[in-house]
């Protein structure tokens, strides 16, 4: 038993034990050759000529490539030197050397073929015999044949039907010239790169098959072909088989099963295919033109540009598929803009603040009973009280109104009610100015007290407090309403944008996944930017900065993932810049130099720069006009924290503090009001009046943000007010004085 050997022809392994000792590959390959030896003649070459032989036989061609072996011969791709064009040469298998009959037939056939000039028929350029080998020079089709497509599975009905009309046209044409193809099959239907169908090997079957063997390929042969009765209807049958195969993926069995039973196709297609496959030629379509008409009725040819009338539904679906990300971008934008809008609305709305005071009026004489509340209230609200208030606060001058008008106004602002079930009276003042409202409330009570102080005693149960939030509008509601409006409106806006985009950029083809990433990136970027710009004013928080930075970083990542597309590049670059800018800004904000940020705007307001590692105490002393101001530079009035920890400013602006650790300043001259946030957590202060009547006030608060007052030990140094006063006086050039204990 000899070991494995190698076949000299094909290189496959072979072995005595199997396939009768022959090469299995060669043996199997034998089945795919249609020609066997004609009786009594030499075995015909399965014409695979070597390159050398080809060059010898076809000197006028430069053989480029071996394209394949068909049923009738071997095909090569070659360049026709004289004309410098690429052609296909089919070398017919079989030796007909010396067969004059064959030569005559061949020439006749070739001439007939050369007559055929149709866009859907492979053109024959030339023919001849080179040393006994008959060849045909044809148009080279760069593409695939239908068999290749079918190997990938069955086709969509639209595709299948689209191929039929051009083939029918070509068949009509050929039949008109009296030429029947005889061998229509998927291998002979070529599709070039432009999608055009071309029929190959026209008439060759008749030429080659005339040696007595049945020509054609059995599955595609019409029944009458067996007896040799071939006419145009034979081609129609074959085309019917091809169509069937395209639709169902299989060739029809002896008993044809309607395509609609195998795949999802229209019943009309069934009729057409079955008629083409009729066993009797008379029952089939008689011409290819008939078949074509039927096909075109079933599926009207859609031209390249596509009528818009039939395309609306797919278009709107396509529009959504393409532009879905616009929704994604615009919804957060809409939301944020809505919130911003709410904030703006809040900002521009005249705000009303409320100060409340609760008093009790009791007779000085304990024996007497309480005067009726209603009477009290009436007394309180009398014009006399109000004019007193106006005078106390210098309202006519400040408001630039006639005293009578001031009174009327005050009547509107001040509301006095009885708290039911008690003998308490509530005084509510609503006014647009935050500090004024407190002043008015206080003044009102004082004025009343001054008037009736000899008769009754006015007990103040609740002092009016500086309101921290206006009663109207309420910021939370404004923001919420804004957000809701933004959310509701943005889908519509998004839809509008999508329609516009679709109009501006009609069908752009399938967007690759990379582009989708780019769109996500863009969405994230926009979100980040909008958030940064709008929410910054509303919420000064570190986490917001971090969140924005993360979103921006995600946008950069998306942009980079989609780098291939322009959108991706754009998103990545812009997001990158935004991220860098944001980080710089954030670093600046979080740096050791803590700064007090205040609402930006056209107003100028002082910005205090406080070094964090300074003891942590800030004293701002302010006094009456006359105290010297610190020199200020620049528009933004940056006041440097002095070494000794005492900052002196003039009474303009006047600082006020509230429980929320905001520092407020108001410029009495202009009436402009600013609020700033402070990083301190505790404050204390007071005012002091010296013997010479010089009064000053001071506020102390801790800056630094980290330590809470409760964590501070009592041994920590606190500024001594005496010291402050003496320094102040020293700076003012006043003589030091013994300080009296302040209020």
């Amino acid at each position: 038993m000899s070991g494995p050997k190698t076949c000299t022809r094909c290189g496959a392994t072979m072995n005595d034990e199997t396939a009768g000792g022959l090469c299995p590959r060669c043996l199997m390959a034998m089945n795919f050759d249609t020609r066997t030896m004609p009786e009594g003649e030499e075995a015909p070459r399965a014409a695979t000529l070597s390159a050398e032989e080809m060059r010898e036989r076809f000197p006028q061609f430069e053989i480029l490539e071996y394209l394949g072996r068909g049923g009738m011969g071997v095909v090569y791709k070659a360049r026709q030197k004289a004309l410098d064009r690429v052609v296909a040469i089919k070398v017919l298998a079989g030796e007909w050397q010396g067969d004059a009959d064959f030569a005559a037939r061949f020439e006749r056939e070739a001439k007939t073929l050369a007559q055929m000039s149709h866009p859907n028929i492979v053109t024959v350029h030339d023919f001849g015999d080179a040393g006994g080998l008959y060849y045909i020079v044809m148009e080279y089709i760069d593409g695939v044949n239908l068999r290749d497509l079918l190997r990938e599975g069955k086709m969509a009905p639209e595709q299948a039907l689209a191929i039929v009309p051009p083939v029918c046209e070509a068949l009509e044409y050929a039949h008109g010239k009296g030429v029947v193809h005889r061998d229509i099959k998927p291998e002979n239907l070529l599709l070039d790169r432009d999608g055009r169908v071309k029929i190959a090997d026209f008439g060759i079957a008749s030429l080659v098959g005339a040696t007595g063997e049945k020509s054609g390929t059995p599955p595609y042969m019409a029944p009458e072909q067996e007896s040799g009765a071939v006419d145009r209807r034979t081609d129609i049958y074959a085309l019917g088989v091809v169509l069937y195969e395209m639709l169902t993926g299989e060739r029809p069995a002896k008993d044809v099963v309607a395509p609609s039973r195998k795949v999802e196709v229209d019943v009309k297609i069934d009729e057409m295919v079955l008629r083409a496959l009729e066993k009797e030629p008379e029952r089939r379509y008689q011409t290819a033109g008939e078949l074509r008409t039927v096909v075109e009725t079933i599926q009207p040819a859609s031209s390249g540009s596509g009528g818009s009338s039939t395309k609306d539904p797919p278009r709107s679906r396509g529009m959504f598929r393409r532009w879905w990300w616009v929704l994604l971008v615009l919804i957060p934008v809409g939301l944020l803009l809505g919130i911003a809008g709410g904030a703006v609305f809040y900002g521009i709305q005249p705000k009303k603040y409320e100060a409340k005071s609760v008093v009790q009026i009791r007779p000085l004489d304990p024996a007497k009973s309480d005067p009726a509340v209603a009477t009290q209230i009436a007394a309180m609200k009398s014009g006399a009280t109000l004019s007193d208030v106006a005078e106390r606060l210098a309202l006519p001058r400040r408001w630039r109104m006639h005293p009578e008008m001031v009174q009327l106004a005050l009547r509107r602002y001040i509301n006095v009610t009885h708290i039911r079930g008690t003998s308490l009276i509530e005084v509510r003042v609503r006014y647009s100015d935050r500090t004024d409202v407190v002043d008015i409330a206080k003044a009102f009570v004082e004025a009343y007290r001054a008037r009736v102080g000899d008769k009754v005693s006015v007990l103040i149960h609740e002092e009016p407090m500086l309101p921290d939030r206006p009663v109207s509008p309420v910021i939370a509601w404004c923001l919420a309403a804004g957000a809701a409006a933004g959310l509701l409106v943005s889908p519509f806006i998004a839809l509008l944008v999508m329609v516009l985009l679709q109009r501006v950029f009609p069908e752009g083809g399938r967007t690759p996944k990379a582009a989708n990433k780019g769109k996500w990136g863009l969405g994230l970027l926009v979100t980040s930017m909008v958030a940064g710009f709008t929410l910054w004013d509303a919420v000064n928080e570190t986490f917001l900065m971090v969140a924005c930075a993360l979103v921006a970083a995600a946008a950069v990542a998306c942009g980079i993932r989609a780098w291939k597309t322009r959108l991706g590049k754009f998103t990545a670059v812009v997001s990158g810049l935004w991220l860098v800018g944001w980080l710089v800004f954030a670093v600046g904000f979080l740096s050791p130099i803590g700064s007090l940020h205040q609402y930006s705007g056209q107003n100028l307001y002082p910005r205090l720069e406080v070094p964090r590692d300074h003891g942590g105490m800030l004293v701002v002393a302010f006094g009456q006009p006359g105290y010297p101001e610190l020199p200020i530079q620049g528009k933004h009035q940056v006041l440097r924290f002095p070494e000794d920890g005492i900052l002196i400013t003039s009474s303009v602006p006047r600082f006020g503090l509230n429980a929320d650790h905001e520092i407020e300043s108001r410029d009495p001259a202009t009436g402009k009001h600013e609020v700033s946030r402070l990083e301190s957590h505790w404050e204390t202060g007071g005012t002091r009046e010296a013997a010479d009547g010089i009064r000053f006030g001071y506020q102390v608060w801790e800056v630094g943000g980290d330590a809470h007052w409760k964590d501070r030990k009592s041994s920590d140094p606190r500024p001594k007010v005496d010291e402050i006063e003496s320094r102040l006086r020293a700076r003012a050039g006043l003589a030091p004085v013994e300080a009296e204990s302040g209020k």
Binding site: M30, A43, P44
Partner: protein, 234 residues
């Protein structure tokens, strides 16, 4: 090759055993299945060996598999898979190897049932450059070889003693055959030899087609199956 089976046994059954009978559960289905299994055991064995089993274990697996097949028939497989015997067998084998083989093996069924006679020695010898093949490709390749074997066997039986000399002409190319010399060896004329060769080729093709047709349920699949087998040998 199932040499153990006498050719007399095979001849009458040969032409009437078909996969289409098995699929259609027609008369003769059982016999068909049995004969087909006996003919195409090699691919199963090859895959069993490829799966890492040694000769004995592979032999057991193959026997167990065929025993299962002959017992169950085509039950349990989808209609699509029944289109061809080859695809049916490879699918059933895969399933068997995953599910039942382990169970059967564990049960240690003693007393080897031999539904199919295996010439494992031969199978071992046949293995060529198959190392790189996937189990599927290996199966198909062995299948094609089994088919060729069957065809050659039949041709041999039909052609008689001259077959040994003539068979090389089946794969010979133009110019390779020296008809004169061949005629001399066979004690015949050159013309007669040419005729014989031509007839042999024709017969070979017919036999191959028949053999392939036996393993498919429908005529329309023969071409494709042949192409698939050709591809398996490439």
């Amino acid at each position: 090759m199932t040499r153990e089976v006498a050719s007399e046994d095979r001849q009458p059954l040969f032409l009437t055993t078909r996969w289409s009978l098995v699929v259609g559960a027609a008369a003769g289905a059982e016999t068909s299945l049995e004969v087909l299994c006996r003919q195409y055991w090699q691919p199963v064995y090859a895959v069993a060996r490829r799966a890492g089993n040694d000769e004995e274990a592979a032999k057991d697996l193959t026997q167990g598999f065929f025993e299962m097949i002959l017992r169950k028939g085509t039950l349990g497989l989808a209609d699509r898979q029944k289109g061809r015997f080859r695809t049916f067998l490879v699918t059933a084998l895969k399933r068997y190897m995953v599910n039942e083989w382990r169970r059967d093996h564990a049960a240690k069924r003693g007393g080897s049932a031999e539904p199919v006679s295996l010439d494992t020695e031969l199978a071992e010898r046949v293995a060529g450059d198959e190392r790189d093949l996937s189990p599927d490709a290996l199966f198909d390749r062995r299948w094609a070889l089994a088919l060729l074997d069957a065809a050659m066997q039949r041709l041999g039986e039909e052609s008689g003693r001259d077959f040994a000399q003539l068979k090389h002409c089946l794969t010979a190319e133009r110019g390779e055959i020296d008809y004169g010399e061949l005629a001399g060896r066979l004690g015949s004329s050159e013309g007669a030899v040419r005729v014989s060769v031509h007839r042999l080729r024709k017969r070979y093709r017919a036999v191959i087609r028949e053999e392939v047709a036996r393993t498919v349920a429908d005529e329309s699949e023969v071409e494709e199956e042949m192409r698939a087998l050709m591809a398996a040998l490439m």
